[in-house]
């Protein structure tokens, strides 16, 4: 079930009234049942995995919390990690590792006969695995108490707004909120609806409108001119942003109506002036997860510069692999690792240059933003090609090569000008709203001004009616 569908509208129409009518355990049951229905809508078989994962981690949490013996605690944590990462390895990476092994053998002139299992990837497995994993790790670190109520824990893992594509909500943030029944609140409703409409606009009107143009570019880049491909690449950078942040907005909005606060997942990432800043604004729940459970345990920046570079690269490579079982995703992570490392050298030099030339602050900011945007977009080319299997690198390289060659770089050589014009109109609307939102905080302001609320809500709905694509396109991040 996707958020941008009539089915989900009906689902919400039933879920929310009942949710506010029920109290205590009954409400937890309702969340759990509704979330399982939401998830099982794709494939009922997927539910087995999430139920096993929930049950096992709940018990591992109890076992870790019950004993003071350090070795035992560690053993239970390792078992929990083996189970969670084992599911991921089995369902997401098995074919990738086998294929990589076969390719390596081919490189040595060997022809091993290996049959790869055709395993279906359960939707959102990477999200709920990380969510569940953080629970046992936090208990091991004694940062959170053990949850004694299995029903509440199961509802926390399965909570439908964030289940399939995040934000990755950690136990320490959400479980305490589930201790009390949240009453219906008009402010929560209005604030939640504002976020949902904004998320729908980003997804249905922007991301889905850019998608056909982007898909065409990646389907056969050799057919298109450099100008066409450049526009396709720019469109993709915004398609993925609007698709993913749109989902997060809807998830945050739905949770807010329920009375819960989720962590923010995006903060206008393309306005970042450095790559380290970019990673505090893009997919924040994942980057902070990787920081807290991978980068810092590896040593972070505490053991000298070479160790810091190594930790940066390891974190980004695994971040890339988290997205998908393809070397193109790993390469995307590698590029970001390189950006973060190179930035450590270039930043002091650039600062000196800015001082020497007395460059005005706004020009400095604009140049930094542009550089970060361009390099991030180059990395997106490999990321987008990640879903193309064996062709991924050749397609990405072809696109980059053609753009750099500037062959036939004219407006005339672009196809589907209608989509291009519509795309840029929507991007201007997006940037205008995001920039003004920094100063006016529209969604907070509308809470105290009903007339503004009516204007904003109606305006967004009219924009969705005028620009929306209503073919129920799934969100890009479902595949991760």
């Amino acid at each position: 079930m996707v958020f941008n569908s009539i089915t989900f509208l009906i689902f919400s129409g039933i879920f929310f009234p009942v949710y506010f009518l029920l109290k205590g355990q009954w409400r937890m049951w309702w969340i759990l049942v509704a979330s399982y229905v939401f998830y099982g809508w794709w494939d009922v078989r997927f539910l087995c995995l999430i139920i096993i994962s929930t049950f096992m981690d709940f018990n591992f949490g109890k076992l870790i919390g019950r004993t003071e013996n350090r070795a035992q605690r560690k053993t239970y944590l390792i078992l929990s990690m083996i189970m969670n990462l084992g599911f991921l390895a089995c369902f997401k990476y098995f074919n990738f590792f086998i294929d990589s092994f076969v390719n390596m053998m081919h490189a040595f002139g060997l022809q091993p006969s290996v049959t790869t299992l055709q395993i279906m990837l359960p939707i959102g497995i990477s999200f709920y695995t990380f969510q569940s994993l953080s629970y046992t790790i936090d208990i091991y670190r004694r940062e959170i108490p053990v949850e004694k109520n299995l029903l509440k824990f199961a509802a926390f893992i399965a909570l439908f707004p964030q289940l399939v594509a995040g934000p990755i909500v950690r136990a320490r943030d959400l479980l305490p909120q589930m201790n009390t029944d949240k009453p219906f609140d008009w402010n929560n409703l209005n604030s939640g609806l504002g976020r949902i409409l904004w998320g729908l606009f980003k997804k249905v009107a922007i991301a889905d409108s850019l998608a056909p143009f982007v898909d065409q570019c990646w389907a056969d880049p050799s057919k298109f001119s450099s100008s066409h491909l450049l526009i396709g690449v720019i469109f993709y950078s915004f398609q993925i942003y609007c698709d993913f942040s749109g989902y997060s907005d809807i998830a945050i909005g739905l949770a807010r109506i329920m009375g819960y606060r989720f962590v923010e997942n995006f903060k206008t990432p393309y306005f970042s002036q450095s790559f380290s800043e970019f990673w505090t604004r893009w997919h924040i729940s994942l980057s902070s997860w990787l920081r807290d459970y991978l980068y810092i345990p590896l040593g972070g920046n505490r053991h000298g510069k070479w160790s810091t570079y190594k930790n940066n690269m390891t974190t980004m490579l695994l971040g890339g692999l988290w997205h998908g079982a393809n070397l193109a995703f790993v390469f995307w992570g590698f590029l970001h690792g390189v950006y973060l490392i190179v930035q450590r050298f270039t930043t002091p030099v650039w600062r000196k240059f800015v001082q020497l030339t007395r460059m005005p602050a706004f020009i400095n900011s604009a140049i930094c933003m542009l550089i970060v945007y361009i390099l991030t977009t180059v990395a997106w080319i490999y990321f987008r090609s990640g879903s193309l299997g064996a062709k991924s690198f050749s397609v990405a390289n072809l696109i980059i090569g053609k753009i750099i060659s500037l062959e036939d770089f004219t407006w005339d050589s672009t196809f589907n000008k209608y989509q291009i014009v519509k795309g840029f109109i929507l991007l201007i609307a997006l940037l205008t709203i995001e920039i003004t939102n920094k100063y006016y905080a529209w969604n907070n302001r509308q809470l105290y001004h009903p007339a503004l609320r009516i204007t904003l809500f109606s305006g967004l709905l009219w924009m969705i009616a005028l620009f929306g694509t209503f073919s129920s396109n799934a969100f890009i991040y479902f595949q991760f």
């Binding site: 062959e407 209608y418 609320r453 009516i454 109606s458 009616a465």
Partner: protein
Amino acid sequence: MKKGLWVIIFFIVLFAGDRLIGWLLQSQVDNSQFRYSRMYRNQGQADILIVGNSRGLNFYQPYMEQATGKKTFSVCYYSMPSEIATVVTQDYLDLYPNVKTVLVEISIVEMSDDKLLTGFTTYMPHSRRIDSVIKSTSEDTWYAAHFSHIYRFNNEVFQRAMYHRNKLDDDWYTERVISNSLARNVANYNVSFKVPEKHVQDLKNLTDYCRKKNVPVKLVLGPFFPNYQVKNLDVLVKRVEEATGCKVYNYGHSIDDGTAFSDFLHANLKGGKTMVDLMIRDSLLPMSTKISKLPPEPEKKNDLIN
């Protein structure tokens, strides 16, 4: 109580705004110089009606008018759905019974794009036929377009109408020449034509209606880039001839000059003029009395490939 009042006001504003914006956009479309807007407001009288998809746009109107001395009107559109082409032609013949010839580019049978069909919601208020085609082919869209008037303009056709708000679209054509790399690698590309029976029947309905109105109809297949492989072309031509009972004038491989194309499927300005000359030579189109001799043979060269 107060909260409930705001909710009611919200729905009233939402509905009233939808109707008001819908009306404003509709009035812009109605006053546009775009072909369908002109046609439905009775400013599209012509001697030759051109029907087709983007390949139909190959028949370069200004040159055709100069060479034939006749006034032309085109209802061609990129990836024109055959159902819409048929009903728009029927509407045209009802509105302008004095048209002398209907010229149809037949790849409309193969290349129509059903997704674009819903784009014609913009002209639904002007044509009961368009309304019923949309209702029968995409009921959801039809209901959505009646529920929200703004939604009627959520399409490419509306954007074109706005682009041509104050600008005639008679010279809608590309002067671009196909890129060298594509032309060189023509052997690596091909297209296989499908012949959907539904689209063939649409074309049959179109030709039948022309006959009913006593308007001569000419079926033409426009040119393809030299050496570009089009599979099933013969099947398409044969099926159309069988269904309509009309001869198809096949110009698929009539132009050998690669510079006369903007891509493998579309002639450019140069190719469009050549095409018009060829049709005059074959007496498909009349020759202007102001021109004393037949146009010359098209050039037999292929600079881009050689």
